[in-house]
Symmetry: D2
Subunit: 352 residues, 4 copies
């Protein structure tokens, strides 16, 4: 089959790779119909994720059709159309028992991490992929949900919702600020209303992204380049700060911004993937009764979000800004890699 294979820092190719086979009775083989590219894939290609070995097939998002199931798979059958979750979960380790699928221990190497596709095992940017713990890691795709929407449920929508909105403990009437209006920030914006956020402030350096934020449910926008950005945000609250500040960029300055605008008793939900330490101003914050959360998505809300996407209550389709076929995989990477210029949110790559 063809697949996007990592060749070491800076190197990738759409090339031949062996077809995957069932290794364990809980596995399924899925023909990938649609996949997409994540910012994490770009990090891997820079060499920032040393656990990824040369020769690894990348990708952890996908929609496809089951072609084979292991002996103990009971929920799925050949021919089923499925969403592949970016997180595998065995369903019975101590972490899965408390729905902490992000730290599932149950895989072959006892990695302690639920994200293994395109990381510790071959991923979804390929014609076929082996899915471990298929009963827990796949979701049946109902009729009427297009692949381009469904693929947003592999990672981006649950990440914005779980790590942003749920970990941020958004509650009815809240003022929520989302710093960074990229795909994951927009996913948080699009789902903040599920807990009744009254005001959703999008904060970004890019005016274009702020416009997009409004289409996803942002009620207010603030340009973070403005000298008075903080005053603008506070003016949208009762003066004491936002109830929830969601960091969706992953650099020190945006994390600091989140801690500066949150009210006493409020929440900072870090969603960004960071590469450096940040300075936490405990000398000011210790007395503020704030809470700082962070984490990798568990994907336990995927079935619920799928239902809402099917009901057209979450605008998943707006995340899919560019479309390619498998044999244009390198073009897709190129477009996604220059998102600031191409205005790409998510690039959708389909079998044909």
């Amino acid at each position: 089959m063809k697949a996007l294979v990592y060749g070491g820092p800076g190197l990738k190719s759409w090339t031949d790779a062996p077809d995957p086979v069932i290794l364990n009775p809980t596995d399924a083989i899925v023909q990938v119909d649609t996949t997409t590219i994540c910012g994490t894939d770009l990090h891997i290609l820079k060499g920032d994720v040393p656990a990824v070995q040369v020769g690894r097939i990348l990708g952890h998002e996908g929609v496809g059709t089951i072609t084979e199931v292991g002996a103990s798979v009971t929920n799925f059958a050949v021919g089923d159309r499925v969403i592949i979750s970016c997180i595998k979960s065995c369903g019975h380790c101590t972490n899965c028992a408390v729905s902490l699928y992000s730290h599932c221990l149950g895989d072959e190497g006892q990695s302690g991490i639920g994200w293994i596709f395109g990381h510790l095992i071959d991923g979804t940017q390929a014609e076929y992929v082996r899915v471990p713990y298929a009963d827990n890691s796949l979701h049946k795709l109902p009729e009427g949900v297009p692949d381009a929407e469904a693929v947003m449920l592999s990672d981006i929508l649950p990440t914005g919702f779980e790590i942003g909105v749920q970990y941020g403990q958004v509650k009815p009437g809240d003022v929520v600020a989302v710093i960074g209006a990229g795909p994951v920030g927009l996913s948080a914006i699009a789902t903040a209303g599920l807990y009744g956020a009254a005001t959703v402030i999008a904060i970004d350096l890019d005016e274009n992204r702020l416009q997009q934020a409004r289409e996803f449910g942002g009620t207010e926008t603030v340009l973070s380049g403005a000298a008075d950005w903080k005053q603008q945000v506070l003016a949208l609250t009762d003066g004491a700060g936002v109830d929830v500040a969601i960091e969706a960029v992953g650099i020190p300055i945006t994390f600091s911004m989140a801690t500066e605008i949150v009210r006493p008793g409020g929440h900072v939900a870090n969603v960004g993937v960071h590469g450096k330490p940040v300075e936490l101003h405990l000398e000011e914050l210790w007395i503020q009764n704030i809470n700082v959360s962070m984490g990798l998505v568990n994907t336990n809300t995927t079935p619920m979000l799928l239902k809402l996407v099917a009901q057209k209550k979450i605008p998943a389709e707006k995340l899919a800004t560019h479309h390619f076929t498998f044999n244009q995989m390198l073009d897709a990477y190129e477009t996604f890699g220059r998102a600031a210029e191409t205005k790409a949110l998510k690039v959708v790559v389909t079998r044909s």
Copy 2:
């Protein structure tokens, strides 16, 4: 009356001061029978808390007898024996409405902070003190609870319980580590069992404090000076880390220690009062699904803790290591200031 008056950095005296009077109908005047000294008082005396003006009477902990009540006080009457909470709360501002008394807005200056005694208004290290919002800021002292135990309910016990145990979301069966076995750390240790902690690890540099920790309910102890301190802690878990790490010191190194020993999905509860920023290793922690809490006590659990102290279920008496009278106030400060040598936890200072 006599009172402990702040004279600027490094200066304090037990001297004459005007008797307090009722300023608002919600005030009460309390004759202080017993008070104590907090680490915060030492910080103030170093000049670290610039909001404290010269001439301020210090102290935010106390037990006493009501001598006068304002016109709208309905819960208390002259002669009532009371615990003075270190936090005043108006009971109706937006923060009080959500039990965030630590950030009560309702005082005269709209300070936005519940802690005003010995800070923004005169405090409890005096023969008499004015208590604003008496209906919400005092607690009736039942017969049979000695002053020396009751005074631990002004601040130290609720702080350890609320900011350590509750914010840390301790749950039945948990492994809890408490870094720093001073009064507030011991308060967390003594109350971790209220949510069923199975293992409580005390971590401190001082072997003497670790011995004390065992008397407060610590089940394990680790000397933090040991080269393998971290391995010792992890060996007391399933290898993945503690469920809850409570920081009760207030310096960068102990905060870092907490983030190093917490398991994926676990909680870091900062109780320490910090004077400097800390480095938060988001480049490693973003994926760990941990939660970092911090804050000033709300004291909404004081009535519950008082009940348990009255039932002898919390060893409050063990916190009272040294006893003085009001005219020995400066000696009390001296003993508390050299706690490492004197082995003082809390010094109890009584009227006579």
Copy 3:
């Protein structure tokens, strides 16, 4: 002044009554600009609420203007436009301390009930009313919210939201059934989305009310007179039942309906005011892991709901179906009493 005075079972008059005066320093006097009638008022007039004495002024909902405040009222001043909450709360009793304002102990008679207007003290269907604990029992009315919308925040909207939606623990993606599409049921329907309900099924005997339910956010409707009503409801779920069943009628049959359609692990939230015991089929339900809640509104969500009404996110105006002036108070009662014919939801009665 003029007021609606209870004259014993079946008897009421719009007649002269003494002007209220400040009795306690926490009181305010409010000139009532707009009031409305509740089903409870009809119950009182039937003689079903024996605690109501002859001569009592009825009514517990209202919007008005403050004309006088007691000495310890700090949040409000003469001239402020306010919503009068149907629940008074002292803010410092043991029940208020845990936001259980519905059972506030702090009034004169230690009634243990937060609802006293038009019940234990004179109410709001009058030109003026005395409001105890004004700081906690009034809410400032922002510019731009008409009285006819604001008055729905005295009781009906918080009741539907708190006792229906919150006690029912509605969560994102849920299928929620509301049995009874009267004012309180419609309030639950209108606010179920604040916790992300995906499907809201209105169930009623009256086709007209089901039509109204759709305007308040109901996504599905089922006529409860239909022989297959239950099958219709289950067909809107995955077959196992609804996540949350909200009872908003108050008779045994509708309570039973709620327990029949709820899924294992689901919630029955009783909002209806019942006059008779109900049969709870524990011989079938004990194994179903359901939860049954009930209660009087606490009104602690009123400020949040007010914000959403001001933002036009809750269609409060649609509850106001009929309008009267004070001198038409008896007509207002007559119209509301024949709601099935007049199609009245709430009748709004204004000063002029």
Copy 4:
């Protein structure tokens, strides 16, 4: 092998039965070393549970040694000593996904019930038993926990804790009443302290059981035959009622007692298995803001409780009052069936 076989109402025998075999790759075969008898087994023998077919091997509690595992079992191996949970859970159905294992859908017949041993499939009162979904339904038994303690973790301890203490939302400082001091009531009493209950009142008709209750952690006892039983209970509270009332009998009168002694804002947790409807006095309770929970155990707390039993923090050994060997199985039933006379709590039946 030998097994206790149901022969229809009133009929049972310890007789030959076919050895179980692996049917699915997720199965394990366990040699039963220790089992016990539950009140439910007696109900089945009376014919009260029609789903149980003639020929069924009874029993849903047991401790044993694995003799064979299916191809996809990864957590367990032959020779492992295990506790058999009374609830099987597939780990991936919609109910298991939210830890509602009690309603696991994933078994062969899609029964929608987690309890199938000795009910829908052959049970544990036998020399060997087939365990479906072994990875999720077994728990490794650590060294040092005797079988007679471990077998209490199959059902009785998690039932008392989850359905009594957790569903009852016990919190630190609470006054908890447990009506019925049989094995399940004693399990609730023994675990109420895990959430910091300050006062635990055992209520029973039998003075002997009340004595036992004190050994399990009951702090107060009330004879339910006393004319003033209710006054006695209320006198142990602040007068308003208990915070949590746990019903552990299963008849209408004890359920009513629970609703009579609970305070406004409190919780009634029904643990009893009921055979008849109960009357719920909604005409009085609708305004009381109470919550009524009920359900079958999920057993998701079994690992945590096992840890506490291993630490000797739960007195599991005191539940084991009588001991038998497999060939005395009928004697064991006889002793357990006359518990009032024999004072049996749980009878422990071992292989030899």
